[in-house]
Symmetry: D2
Subunit: 121 residues, 4 copies
């Protein structure tokens, strides 16, 4: 999962606007589904972010090519925990622990086996 930094990602500081790293991580999560021919939105079911902890280590800049790595740290009955790390030239520049809750028709729901497997590759 490679991501190029464009004008839209930067701000007046000359670097990437802080919340955009969260967008890059979301793209990587969606690609876990797309790459298997699936969609993150399965009928009335999908994941939502319930909490996250992020560390901004080094700023990314215009033209950079970043790589997002996604590791599953825990799969519970109703939620999934991931560790997502962003690298530039193999140097870690951003790290995030994120918890996703599974919703069906807008309500917390048990994650079925098929959906769990998506996170195990």
């Amino acid at each position: 999962m490679k991501i190029r930094i464009y004008y839209e990602d930067t701000d007046i500081s000359g670097f990437v606007y802080h919340s955009n790293y969260l967008k890059f991580c979301e793209r990587a999560r969606s690609e876990l589904f797309f790459q298997k021919g699936l969609s993150p939105i399965d009928g009335n079911s999908h994941f939502v972010v319930s909490k996250l902890e992020a560390k901004f280590i080094q700023p990314a800049k215009f033209g950079d090519i970043l790589e997002v790595d996604t590791q599953v740290t825990k799969i519970g009955g109703y939620s999934v925990q991931l560790l997502q790390t962003i690298f530039r030239d193999e140097v870690e520049i951003f790290r995030m622990d994120i918890t996703l809750a599974y919703l069906k028709n807008g309500k917390l729901a048990k994650i079925d086996r098929k959906t769990k497997e998506i996170f195990y590759k």
Copy 2:
């Protein structure tokens, strides 16, 4: 309709990223509805952008306070044409002619009288 320019609106050039002026105009269009206690999404009906012509006259910068003016130029059976102008300190910095098509259940639909009146104030 006053709009403050924040970090998120700028890019590495130090000025506002070009497509964000379109966002500011959309906010002003939505406020035409919100200010009357209505919503731009009325059940299954809403407007979509079908075409636009924009002129970027002067760049806005971090901290600026902009004002958006919206004038109706034509109300047709199925679409509305607006002229939206953005000012900073009463100086015009952006201008856009925009045509909005009215959709009902995803299909082009006749604009009802009540909806037309929203544009006449």
Copy 3:
């Protein structure tokens, strides 16, 4: 600090895209400066986000009016910690602990007294 939710803030889920709550909090931080006639960018000095912990409690939706509350939790020599809470109709829907590092010419720098006072109102 009131924030209206526009089309641009929502995504296909029908609710506000998760990273946009971080933008709303950044607007509130910038307004701490703007409201005093100052700018968050003071010559070559400004704050950058070094880490954050966010909790997504309830989703905001199109048309909502949100309020952002910002409390200083710690002012250190080189960084500031804030607790930012977003409310809708006085109900908490998002909370974030954020640490900002102070940079001068791109390097970590001691926060001067004048800058510290901005956070004490």
Copy 4:
């Protein structure tokens, strides 16, 4: 130049937010430079958008893969005109005529031969 549609690109309508098509076209313009090992920002010189005319033909949706085609329509002394078209499965869904002005130190400047050649591949 292929572009995947993620959550961040969509809005409550379920489709891509209108101004994001402009972002996709900007990415394609920047790639004209990046693909040659260059940057759109060359010291104190870069292009800015001075006007555009856009036609929204069909909406793109979550998960779509779009392709952006960029054709030079005119290279003047101080500006460049491009026709940018976005396709999904070879069907045109968006088209934009855009004029870019060349700036050096913030002022309109003559485009040098080397920069002109970037647009001729």
